[in-house]
């Protein structure tokens, strides 16, 4: 539901806030996340150097969710996002495009070949001379390697595939680089993060830096981290990309949004990702 300066209440967050109450929600910030009794997630970490003047600690969005929502992420059998991971596994193995290739033909088992990949994207690609999100890299393989059609940037085929590719990185620390040629994109993303947009004149930082931990109507504000993306949202019962979330948050400032996959959102993703350097990759995570 985004900011909830509008719209109707999602059932999930109604339940969340009812259970916790406004005042006690904070207590939840002590909880630990261990997935499948095996993967120990770092849900709070020392802020990366570039944020040292601003924040002491960075928190996963999981920390701010209700007990019920948190529990859904603790076991893959309860995590509704895994339905979509299975769908992506079928796509991974299916040949598509004029070259008659599947992802599996070149990358074999994603649980081996894709270890660590989610943790370092967006990433500068020297050969292509561009900053690539995971989505851009997947489409580069589809067109370049498979001679297949591009997937829609935030369509279900794409977001499901990014979830599958994230699974073998779960528990690894986000470690997105922003030096070298990526730096100018990082600066652009930072600028966007602090720009107050729309008729409500609100920047990401107003809500996610200055007021995380506070309630904004029925929503318990997190730091707006993307270590859990793509996320399964109870609100729309599907996986959601980081760009879709950015779009929703900007729209809710009564602004003219940017498009998923736009240069602005790629830069913003790079910047926001580096604000979470040190948190664990959690995708697919569960949120309201």
């Amino acid at each position: 539901m985004g900011i909830s300066l509008r719209g109707t209440l999602g059932l999930a967050s109604a339940v969340a806030a009812l259970t916790l109450g406004t005042g006690t929600a904070i207590a939840d910030e002590e909880a630990e996340l261990v997935v499948n009794e095996e993967i120990e997630m770092v849900v709070r970490a020392e802020a990366p150097d570039h944020l040292a003047d601003t924040l002491d600690t960075i928190y996963s969005g999981w920390v701010f969710r209700s007990d019920e929502t948190q529990a859904l992420q603790a076991d893959d059998f309860d995590n509704p996002g895994f339905v979509f991971v299975d769908v992506a596994m079928d796509a991974w193995n299916a040949a598509d495009g004029a070259a008659g290739k599947s992802c599996a033909d070149c990358h074999n088992d994603p649980m081996d070949s894709m270890v660590g990949v989610r943790a370092v994207y967006p990433k500068w690609n020297d050969e292509a001379g561009e900053l690539r999100t995971l989505e851009m890299q997947i489409n580069a393989c589809r067109t370049g390697q498979m001679e297949a059609e591009e997937w829609k940037y935030d369509g279900s085929d794409m977001v499901n595939m990014t979830a599958l590719i994230s699974v073998p990185s779960r528990g690894l620390p986000v470690n997105v680089a922003y030096d070298g040629p990526a730096q100018e994109y990082w600066e652009m993303g930072k600028e966007l993060y602090y720009t107050r947009t729309g008729q409500l004149e609100l920047a990401c930082a107003n809500c996610h830096e200055d007021h995380y931990g506070d309630m904004i109507r029925a929503d318990h504000l997190s730091q707006g981290q993307i270590n859990g993306f793509p996320v399964y949202r109870l609100k729309n019962a599907k996986l959601n990309s980081a760009h879709a979330r950015f779009k929703g948050c900007i729209r809710d400032t009564r602004a003219h949004t940017y498009k998923p996959g736009s240069a602005e959102f790629v830069a913003l993703e790079l910047y926001v990702a580096t604000r979470g350097n040190g948190l664990s990759v959690e995708a697919p995570s569960v949120r309201n």
Partner: protein, 159 residues
């Protein structure tokens, strides 16, 4: 049906009279501290209607950021801004009008949106559609709604 027609005519009539005296957003006269002396409609507001604007998420949605004991019947109060109880004792009517119309005139850089402002935005949108704003972007609240909210806030006095 007949009632609806009569209502519509009454509404048109009142809009006409209101517009005659209404101050448009660009002409609001903010004082040194961001206060606004003159009623934007030239008439006092209706505090009951103001209570609805404060509570309703499609209107002012002030409770997204502010809590108030006086609004316990309204679900979900935010904790971004100060509690509104007692605002009518803390502030004069002119100050409250300024805060609601454009709080940035009083509290520099505040997170509180300007509810009676139509220009000077970055990527203004068409309400919550995500599309670009129309040429004649209306303020978030009408002059009447601002006055109604001010009238309501004036009722929130310390006992």
């Amino acid at each position: 049906m007949k009632q609806a027609v009569v209502g519509a005519i009454a509404l048109m009539a009142s809009t006409v009279t209101v517009q005659a005296a209404e101050t448009v957003p660009g002409d609001v006269d903010y004082g040194e501290y961001g206060e606004v002396q003159q009623s934007l409609t030239g008439a006092p507001g209706d505090s009951e209607a103001g209570r609805e604007v404060v509570s309703n998420r499609a209107l002012g949605n002030c409770v997204a950021c502010h809590a108030a004991e006086a609004l316990v019947d309204v679900p979900w109060h935010g904790e971004i801004g100060p509690v509104l109880d007692g605002a009518g004792s803390r502030w004069s009517e002119a100050e409250l009008r300024g805060i609601v119309a454009n709080a940035k005139m009083m509290f520099e850089g505040t997170m509180m949106p300007a509810f009676y402002k139509t220009e000077g935005f970055t990527r203004a949108g068409d309400a919550y559609t995500g599309d670009p704003a129309p040429e004649d972007l209306p303020p978030i609240l009408t002059a009447q709604q601002v006055e109604d909210v001010v009238a309501y806030l004036m009722t929130l006095t310390d006992e």
